[in-house]
């Protein structure tokens, strides 16, 4: 179902009003180690003296703060418009009920429009009301956090459990980090699992995306999906094979990567040190900086620094797009 995207959409996707490079970390499948890679890369960049923004865009299950061992600070509500109905003004024309594509408006009796279902704040009801009976209230759908620790700033959002509108939080958390972009040398974005609109939303503006996977049939299947998504948007990409020594089908992962012209950026083996860092809430790069696992992340940052952080290459990148 790969459709051609309008060139304007691809341009818009890659366009950022700042020059700080964005590196995305995604993977299609859940539980493959996206967040482990994201927090360790962040720690490795910090170890090299870089100012780093880490955006946790998995707003359904945000875990980067736990893996970094830093509590969430500076909560800010994410709000959307929610209609407020004034029955005194209502003429009972019910245009709002018809306009609501979510079928969330209900009229139990005369002049008593009630919001019964989900509201995504599109404002259709407000726009069509001829009597001025609808005003714009606001409604909190989640929370945004910004936590600063030395050279690392973590931007996280959390969807309010029971609500459906993850996309709004993903955009809000991205916008918060982008507003501060000039303060950083690099922005890392950790996405939700899957290949849906929230993942694309999170990867907006990414210069390079690391697709994390594992050598299982599920890993290679989902890797193929995410790589074709990255292809649709013409995003530079490479693959990180986590748990590379699992008894499985590494060759299928390698085939999928090759078919999508993605290099294997790193292989991470099942590693006690890495697991210890994960459980303890300290990136292995900080916990055991001389370990084999830490070395892999430090090496990855060297590559990313050389490719995306030097001014010369930056211009080249822009010319390519």
């Amino acid at each position: 179902m790969n459709k051609r995207l309008h060139p304007e959409i691809i341009r818009h996707f890659h366009n950022t009003p700042f020059s700080t490079p964005i590196i995305g970390i995604t993977g299609g499948k859940g539980g493959v180690g996206k967040s482990t890679v994201a927090v360790n890369l962040a720690a490795a960049f910090v170890a090299q003296g870089k100012r780093v923004a880490l955006v946790d865009a998995d707003v359904d299950a945000p875990n980067d703060s736990l893996l970094l061992g830093i509590p969430l600070e500076n909560p800010q509500p994410v709000t959307i418009m929610q209609p407020i109905f004034d029955s005194a003004q209502c003429t009972d024309c019910q245009k709002c009920v018809k306009a609501c594509q979510m079928n969330s408006l209900f009229r139990p009796k005369e002049k008593s429009i009630t919001l019964m279902g989900e509201c995504n704040g599109c404002e259709a009801c407000y726009l069509v009301c001829p009597a001025g009976a609808i005003s714009q209230g606001s409604h909190s759908v989640g929370t945004l956090y910004k936590t600063k620790r030395g050279k690392l700033t973590l931007y996280t959002g959390a969807l309010q459990p029971g609500l459906a509108e993850s996309a709004l939080i993903v955009n809000a958390v991205g916008d918060a980090a982008f507003a501060d972009a000039e303060l950083f040398d690099i922005i890392l974005v950790d996405t939700a699992p899957g290949t849906h609109c929230n993942v694309i939303g999170a990867l907006k503006g990414a210069r390079h995306v690391l697709a994390v996977t594992e050598p299982t049939p599920l890993g290679s299947h989902d890797l193929e999906l995410i790589l074709s998504l990255l292809d649709m948007f013409s995003i530079q990409r490479s693959v990180v094979i986590n748990r590379a020594n699992l008894p499985g089908q590494k060759e299928k992962v390698e085939q999928a990567a090759q078919a999508a012209s993605a290099a294997i950026a790193a292989e991470i083996k099942l590693d006690k040190d890495l697991l210890a860092g994960y459980l303890e809430g300290t990136p292995v790069v900080d916990l055991l900086p001389n370990s084999a696992a830490a070395e892999i992340f430090l090496k990855m940052t060297d590559y990313l620094t050389a490719t995306y952080l030097s001014p010369h290459n930056q211009t080249q990148q822009e010319q390519q797009l």
Partner: protein, 294 residues
């Protein structure tokens, strides 16, 4: 017929593997009849875990999108400024970003030329898969698409129909990760939710978030601790949290290298290595699930 849904909040903790193993054990010797629903429409993997045969597939229209008739469009860009989701862009003419369009129709309301309208579009498919006596109804969202919640609704409706037509005792749903719209859709109408976790701080945090959703919908639930021997301290923290929140621990499954080996061969651990530690633990858990069906 009972409906049980398997959820976790966190991805990769073993929902699909557990769903497949339970399905195998419950239908062994024809004891129960069941239909499976794969509602992880972003990464539908249940068929891979089952090593199942592909049957047939149908396209699904689970989303409405705005479409512009450029012959009528006057390039006034009213639609660009009205869209609350920043889903219309453009400098010379408006372009709809289909993947983030929610189909709310505000653009068509503000268009003075009646050039924008909202239409249903095909954005996914439903695959019907057979594994032994078990039918699997699996949703697959198109790459880069939205409206996974509505696709999950359709998958569940189809699966429910399949299950009741073939006189099933159970509709077992493999849920998506997270707590957002597809999860809520997977959970709707369930009699019971099995929440899979593993002993790590992240998995506990996600378990807490999914529990809030499940309890919000007043659906009875119990938990399964997968890879339970991975970290004794985290395992104990999880057990304590479950006790404190009156969530029964239905079973614990130890980490077992036989499982990925079976998966790599497109087979089930419980089938290929019936005496492996994980298989024995899942068999015990399956008795508990049988208890839920009585």
């Amino acid at each position: 017929m009972k409906e049980i849904v398997i959820l976790s909040g966190k991805g990769g903790v073993g929902k699909s593997s557990l769903t497949a193993a339970l399905a195998h054990l419950l239908t062994e010797n024809g004891k129960y009849r069941l239909t499976l629903a794969d509602t992880d429409v972003d990464a539908p993997n249940l068929h891979i875990v089952l090593g199942a045969e592909f049957d047939r597939s149908t396209g699904v229209t689970a989303s409405n999108k705005a479409i512009i008739d450029y012959d009528k469009c006057s390039r006034c860009m009213n639609c660009v400024s009205a869209c609350a989701f920043d889903s219309i862009i453009g400098t010379e003419e408006p372009v709809i970003i289909s993947y983030s369009c929610e189909g709310c129709g505000v653009c068509s309301l503000v268009c003075p030329e009646e050039a924008v309208s909202v239409h249903p579009v095909e954005n996914g498919q439903i695959n019907f898969v057979t594994s032994g006596t078990v039918r699997v109804v699996a949703g697959a969202l198109g790459i880069g698409e939205s409206s996974s919640g509505r696709l999950v609704d359709i998958v569940k409706r189809q699966a429910r129909q399949e299950a009741s037509l073939s006189g099933c005792d159970l509709l077992l749903t493999d849920g998506p990760p997270g707590i957002g719209c597809p999860v809520i859709a997977a959970l709707k109408g369930a009699d019971y939710a099995i929440l899979v976790s593993e002993p790590t701080p992240s998995a506990l945090s996600d378990l807490q978030r999914i529990t809030e959703v499940v309890q919000g919908f007043k659906i009875p639930a119990g938990a399964v601790l997968n890879r339970s021997d991975m970290d004794p301290q985290s395992a104990q923290t999880t057990r304590d949290w479950l006790t404190g929140n009156e969530l029964p621990l239905l079973g614990e499954i130890p980490y077992d290298p036989y499982l990925p080996q079976a998966l790599a061969r497109g087979n089930l651990g419980v089938k290929m290595y019936p005496d492996a530690p994980s298989s024995l633990a899942i068999k015990k858990l399956h008795k508990v699930v049988e208890g839920l069906l009585e």
